[in-house]
Symmetry: D2
Subunit: 288 residues, 4 copies
């Protein structure tokens, strides 16, 4: 199927990520029309009334009819640090061909974080970094140190190769910051799932950057599906059974109290998450 | 790992579904403790503070950390009509061994719906049946007719076999109401996904019955995970970006108006779904 | 990526299967070059010597390096009887959108086998039909009977719909010979696996016909990969440890004896399968 | 289901792999009987004749009826170097929970190869190491160097943590030789596939060691399935279409000639692989 010009223009283009990585769309099969086409097979004669593609796509997304979204397929060429690749590969419903350090000599390319990204351990979040950076001078020093270590490790790698040590062994002390690359093929439904998890603020900054770059590509390829994904998934808010109790009272005019939260069992981090959701809802009025 | 006595008591027990079907738990691996055990591997030394299993399981469910739920595995023996099997098999992340009509003679067992279940096409829902039944006498007549057709078809099947027609061909005019059976093995994460879709009011009544039977078994095997699943998934409510606009105004004291819904693009079925969600929230106050 | 003209010419073309079914290639992503392109990512600088695409593809197939074959994707529109669809859907690594008998009215289309295909149960093979057909007159009679039953069943379906019975229930006595249709998307590696199993002589004739039709399409899209698949998989012969003992003696000049087979534990059907493999090897000399 | 005593005895036992790694069977569901039980569902009444479990299991393996083997499930706790984990995770049909370097502090544990394993790049095989070791003294020196680098890197990691750099960043220069651990759950069919690929002589020595350790556990849990797997898969030999031509002539009494190989297109590495297969077959006579 011929691609729309704006998609054609994306193919092969390198979008830089981090200091030396990139995302490159290699090929794509299908678009918004392919989603609709597959969905309509299910409906046969009985569905004359759903005329509008956008309406149908939004209906499918809202009701989690996911199979038509599997009918669009993306293939990317991605260059990324190994520690990012290790998070990425956990998404199992994709096809991957990765550069092999057994066959080939690893290149001298390592991820050096921007000093601005050198942040302290988050005080609230066991798995993340804080909002503010380390003091500028310290950050500069540490970045320099990371860079020197990488240079030393690569020199050692080369020395081992010169002693004719097998590549598969010579590489074992190369760092997780080493860049690798791969071809990655995935369907739109599973890509949306990947994006939801990896664009999330709890995802590590480095993989989030790749996810956002991919999101921009996806937006161009399937604009209607993307819009539906944003409205019904990315920006949607989900309230648990307990949170609904409180919401019911708030809608009746009560004000939020510590006591009320406790009564339904909302405490600690969970209570805080609930208040963040309420704040996000309130934000809509301000945004107008 | 030894099973708890109440789980042991479930193994092998036949739970009837529909007129001739059943669900039977054949084996199970793991329980709530297995979920916690796997999750704790991820946390290593850094997680002394999450002491409580229930708290950890709820945290995992709330944040959609799904992999620890994959560590529990269920194996069922199920007898079900073929049209139900065809909906069921769409869940691909499971292992199946089904009775084969090529190897073996199909048995004279067909699903005959309860007259009470003979309902008109739903006026609102293109894929479902209405709430009320057909007139009792008509329903009786139609059920009788279904039963007779099934008897005729089985007699014909036997006649074809007596002419020595290959089983794989003799069966092709057997109806979708024929019972089949299979072994079905699935992990808890994927089982929860199956249950969420198949316990839903939009699922066909017949498969919903099986899903509810399985849910009762799951509740006994992993009571803490089940409770979390109910609170954060089954009974959770999700609001789209558009719905949040309205919600923000309602929380400020505005009343719901057709106009406001239209302004944010909520119309038709989508507007109605929103109002149903509000009603469900309001229900919590009444339930108290 | 633009398609080669001979592939372009295939897109959308309906290839008839059985009396009323078809296979139609809807879209395809990639070709032989896409396999090579993905494989080369793994090799980086270290692989200057593998210059030839054909040679590389054959190497990948021979050594079961399957991931580059996942980089080619096919989407088909297929119309097929439900009993064939039930065998087909067992291949889980594919995406499917099927016509829904809940949403839509089932069409009056049923598979009526060719009288020539009405064959007795196979005497050797519990799951198959014999080589020879039933007597011609009997076959004609039985075909007519199948056709009449189908007409009766469809009339009854229509009657139930006229009584306004919900579509999801009215259909339950429709036969397994009813035609359905679906969109089916699968990558080349998994498609090869499907073809290996479904082109096999043990597969039911009806699904084999579809598999062979798809094979012809695949041959045009990826000629080099197809050739390698034929040489190293489809027409390959595998010998068990026990069979290798016998083979060793035959290569030394011994003649095959019942006694020798028994000694290594080859008896019954397994011994026969071994002799069939030897015959297939001998056939190569005659074919020259 | 209660486990057999020899399986019970395996649960929880740590089998050491490499210098600091291990494999530990955490739980298992099913055994040889579970395979037979599931397969028999498919056969219903028509299969009285297959009485013997061993015979049925061997039949299933021989004919690649893989689904009954999916009915047995294994859960392992494994400690392994990251570069091994990266090969391992490519097997997508398994469930994994891995130690997280974002949540937790990485431990000071690195893989130090045995000096005997420090081997030159293989002269024939682009991805492997040679048979013979490096000179003993050189090997000792290089091992010592690897160890020192690891110590230095861990000291640097600790320094970064002391500057309060977020764990997710402090770890990026840790080497691929760092140990990680995970829970890994997989069914027997997919485990057999993993073992076939990872026990192969082309797999890297380090992962092969883990595969062989797991194989020993599997043998104890499902002895009949293991025996069938060895006879029909692990030790089986497959001959391509081209190789069959030559085999046909050899069985007729011809002797192998360069010329004959060339005529059918067997040259270079492929011709050599064929001769290795013939040698393996001949070996059977010597082994007797």
């Amino acid at each position: 199927m011929p691609l729309r010009p704006e998609v054609e223009a994306l193919i092969g283009k390198e979008f830089r990520c981090l200091d030396k990585g990139f995302v490159r769309l290699v090929d794509v099969m299908g678009d918004d029309a392919a989603i609709v086409q597959a969905a309509r097979v299910s409906y046969g004669e009985g569905t004359r009334s759903v005329r509008d593609d956008r309406k149908l796509i939004r209906y499918l997304m809202r009701h989690r009819h996911t199979s038509p979204f599997e009918m669009v397929e993306f293939k990317f060429h991605i260059k990324l640090p190994i520690f990012v690749a290790r998070q990425w590969i956990r998404h199992r419903t994709a096809s991957v061909n990765e550069y092999s350090g057994r066959y080939s000599i690893m290149r001298e390319e390592f991820y050096v974080p921007d000093p601005d990204q050198l942040r302290p351990q988050s005080p609230h979040n066991k798995q993340g970094r804080a909002e503010e950076s380390l003091p500028e001078e310290l950050a500069q020093t540490l970045v320099e140190r990371l860079r020197q270590t990488q240079a030393t490790l690569y020199a050692e790698y080369q020395a081992l190769l010169q002693h004719n040590l097998a590549r598969e062994l010579a590489r074992i002390n190369l760092p997780l910051s080493s860049y690798t690359e791969w071809y990655w093929k995935i369907d739109l439904h599973n890509l949306f799932h990947f994006l939801r998890l990896r664009m999330d603020e709890h995802a590590q900054y480095e993989i989030r950057l790749y996810a956002c770059t991919i999101a921009d590509i996806v937006k161009t390829v399937v604009p209607l599906a993307w819009e539906a994904f944003e409205d019904y998934v990315l920006q949607a808010l989900t309230f648990s059974r307990q949170e609904q109790y409180i919401l019911a009272r708030l809608l009746q005019g009560s004000t939020l109290s510590e006591q009320a939260l406790l009564e339904v069992g909302l405490l600690g981090r969970e209570a805080q998450e609930f208040q963040e959701k309420l704040a996000r809802i309130g934000q809509h009025l301000i945004d107008e």
